[in-house]
């Protein structure tokens, strides 16, 4: 009798084990390789699996340059991730290609998304549906070298707040040798870096214009405001002589090497700048214009659910996506990767806002915009070329601007669904 009970107990034990095993769902998560991102995700997966023992998540990564191609190729091959990371600017392509499904509204109600996340999350909305949610977002700020500030007689505790102050500080900090060669740039000028975002979403607006209309499908910067914005930018090199495009090869290299007093860059640069040992640096909000108008450019990678995921995998994917967009996950991400939480409440904590580094970036998020690129690389190239025509070929600001506007409109039109 006793034996029988033991036996029954054993059987029961085995069967629950077997049942558990049968219930375990494995879902696959894809992102691109970037050391701190992979580490952060490993930690999130571990936490998630602890809370949901019936779900396992497998993380697969690819080099950034191959990532899009791999996702698309996997879709063609009928295999791919259940949850995937994507840049917000790829959304049109991914939706058109049927790679993503709309986020189920039972797990991700729209009013919650709209009230809890920063407004830039609207870049993940097409029609009535959201297709992804970010864990973290990035914005721009002005980095400045405190050592060079002190040497130039500037107050390192009081970085420039307006464009005029920015130019004045840069003029003071610029150093040249006897032959007139730049030794220290007041500010980096690097359209291929983040300057093109600064020009497009910040300067154009600060000079009274707007970069695009019609959901970023019509180029609108070919106006007097755009002209002033471009003239302001190119004058930094030609008139004010506070920097030089191509100095030290790249803007971020010049700043890192302590040969530029200021540079405009994003949160994603924090990791690289943290290893600087030769000098102390600070971060401040992007300069405002005279009437106090500020703007910023924010971007993010979001996570979405694959169009082909269904059944229990879909349920597991919903849980996983909900977890990696939770305040807890955002905190892990901030600490590991250094990117800002995408939820207002998780981001705008007193501790974060008081942080001398995260604070300025977070303030920027409040008024940041995202550009709805159709082909980021190609659109960036038109802006680089626009500045180069003025700086290298001596084309007039007006003509170069008009040419850039026409070229960019052609890129946008070519990408429009027919």
């Amino acid at each position: 009798m006793r034996r029988a009970t033991l036996f029954a107990g054993l059987i029961a034990g085995f069967s629950t084990l077997a049942l558990n095993a049968a219930q375990a769902v494995e879902i696959e998560y894809w992102q691109y390789v970037f050391d701190s991102r992979v580490k952060a995700m490993d930690q999130l997966i571990e936490n998630f699996e602890k809370a949901n023992p019936d779900i396992t998540v497998k993380q697969t990564t690819f080099p950034y340059a191959d990532y899009q191609t791999r996702v698309i190729a996997a879709k063609m091959g009928g295999q791919g991730p259940d949850v995937m990371q994507l840049f917000y600017g790829w959304l049109d392509k991914f939706v058109a290609g049927g790679l993503l499904q709309p986020l189920p509204t039972d797990a991700f109600p729209h009013d919650k998304i709209e009230s809890e996340f920063f407004p830039i999350v609207s870049a993940m909305k097409r029609g009535e549906d959201y297709y992804g949610l970010p864990t973290a977002v990035r914005s721009l700020a002005l980095f400045y070298n405190k050592k060079l500030f002190t040497e130039a007689g500037l107050d390192p505790a009081n970085p420039p707040k307006t464009l005029d102050e920015f130019v004045a500080a840069a003029e003071k900090a610029t150093k040249r040798d006897a032959a007139g060669n730049l030794i220290v740039a007041g500010s980096t000028l690097d359209m291929a870096g983040q300057d093109h975002q600064w020009w497009r979403e910040v300067l154009v607006r600060q000079f009274g214009g707007q970069p695009y209309t019609d959901g970023d499908r019509k180029v609108a910067y070919n106006t007097e405001a755009g002209e002033k914005a471009l003239k302001f930018y190119t004058d930094l090199q030609t008139e004010k002589k506070i920097g030089q495009a191509g100095f030290m090869d790249e803007g971020q290299a010049a700043f890192r090497a302590g040969m530029a007093a200021m540079t405009i860059d994003g949160t994603f640069r924090l990791g690289a700048f943290k290893s600087i040992e030769g000098f102390e640096w600070g971060v401040t909000e992007l300069p405002a214009n005279d009437d106090g108008t500020r703007s910023n450019y924010a971007s993010y990678f979001a996570n979405g659910i694959s169009a082909t995921t269904s059944g229990e995998k879909l349920e597991a994917s919903k849980k996983f996506l909900a977890y990696i967009s939770s305040p807890e996950a955002m905190d892990v991400w901030l600490k590991t990767v250094g990117e800002l939480p995408a939820r207002r409440t998780a981001a705008m904590t007193e501790a974060n806002l008081a942080d001398p580094i995260y604070g300025p970036f977070l303030k920027g998020l409040e008024y940041a915009r995202t550009t709805m690129f159709v082909d980021e690389a190609a659109q960036r190239q038109t802006t680089i070329d626009m500045a180069n025509r003025v700086l290298l070929e001596g084309q007039s600001v007006k003509d170069s601007l008009a040419q850039a506007a026409a070229a960019e409109q052609a890129i946008i039109d070519a990408a429009a669904p027919k």
């Binding site: 191609t69 060669n181 030794i183 191509g246 090869d249 690389a377 190239q381 070329d385 180069n388 070929e393």
Partner: protein, 314 residues
């Protein structure tokens, strides 16, 4: 089981021999030859020829990787020939070819011709010339990219500064960027061409030279009448090889101008880089295939033209 099969095989082969044994020596050899040749042929068909033919078809479609390709006729070619960017790239590609090939061949011949006579540290000098050819193109391009930087870090500009020559923008200039990159490409390929030229020079029998000297021919005449004509097969090979290399130039350009791919205002952009960007940055696969077909046609035409010009006149 296998034993019985063997026995049966042996039994069948005994009376008139098997099908295989009854074939003639010649047929057998042919079968062997073809079974060995079939492997590379199959490999090439799958890896080379099939994708090439597929590219021709894709160039007539609007494939973007995501949606199934749709036939759109010659629209990609019309777009390409109307694109000022393409003509700029086309011009750049031919600048690499028409300037790069003669300079690199002339240079490598002069070096090989003289190096052939040098006994002192011959091996070391030859090794030094060959070294760049062994180096990864990407690594080399980055070193040169830093050489070309403005004053505080650029070696070349620093040197110019000390002798009082003003700073040159090099790869940041619309005019100097292409020659700057071409110089790197020529330097990188020089070692290989020198080695091939030297091999060609060594293969010319010494007796010809001795006979010429006995007849009192000068060095210049020997070079013109003996060395150059007998070196023709080597020259033809190098002209074709180097032309194809310059027409396909990519590594140096891409790595020296990654932050503005193709140099300021596309001043150094070759066709291959344009294809790469169209395909893997804009994902316009159909359009990229059309560009590839154009490049293929140019390569074919240039190679055939060179072979025809440099053919043996009988």
């Amino acid at each position: 089981m296998s034993v019985t099969a063997d026995q049966q095989g042996a039994a069948v082969s005994r009376p008139g021999g098997t099908f295989w044994e009854r074939r003639s020596m010649r047929t057998k050899r042919l079968v062997w030859v073809w079974s060995f040749l079939a492997l590379p042929i199959l490999f090439y068909s799958v890896i080379r020829f099939y994708p090439t033919i597929e590219a021709f078809w894709l160039s007539l479609t609007n494939w973007d990787l995501l949606k199934p390709p749709q036939f759109i006729g010659l629209a990609n070619y019309e777009k390409l020939f109307a694109d000022p960017q393409f003509w700029k790239v086309f011009k750049n590609t031919f600048a690499y070819l028409l300037v790069g090939t003669p300079i690199s061949l002339l240079l490598s011949f002069v070096i090989a011709y003289h190096l052939d006579r040098v006994r002192f540290m011959h091996g070391l000098i030859r090794g030094l010339y060959f070294l760049p050819y062994l180096t990864t193109a990407a690594a080399m391009a980055w070193v040169w990219r830093w050489f070309y930087q403005p004053a505080p870090i650029g070696v070349i500009n620093n040197a110019l500064g000390t002798i009082g020559i003003p700073q040159q923008p090099f790869i940041r200039s619309v005019d100097q960027a292409l020659p700057s990159i071409m110089l790197t490409a020529i330097w990188a390929g020089l070692g290989f061409q020198i080695i091939i030229f030297m091999a060609g020079l060594r293969s010319i029998p010494n007796t010809f030279y001795e006979a010429a000297r006995i007849d009192g021919l000068g060095e210049w005449a020997i070079l013109r009448k003996i060395t150059l004509p007998l070196l023709k097969p080597t020259t033809v090979f190098l002209v074709v090889f180097s032309s194809i290399g310059f027409l396909r130039i990519f590594d140096q350009v891409y790595n020296m101008t990654t932050n503005d791919p193709g140099g300021p205002l596309g001043s150094t952009k070759p066709l291959v880089l344009m294809i790469y960007q169209t395909a893997f940055s804009s994902y316009a696969m159909g359009y990229a295939a059309a560009q590839t077909v154009v490049l293929f046609t140019i390569l074919l035409f240039v190679s055939l033209l060179q072979l025809w010009i440099l053919r043996e006149k009988k």
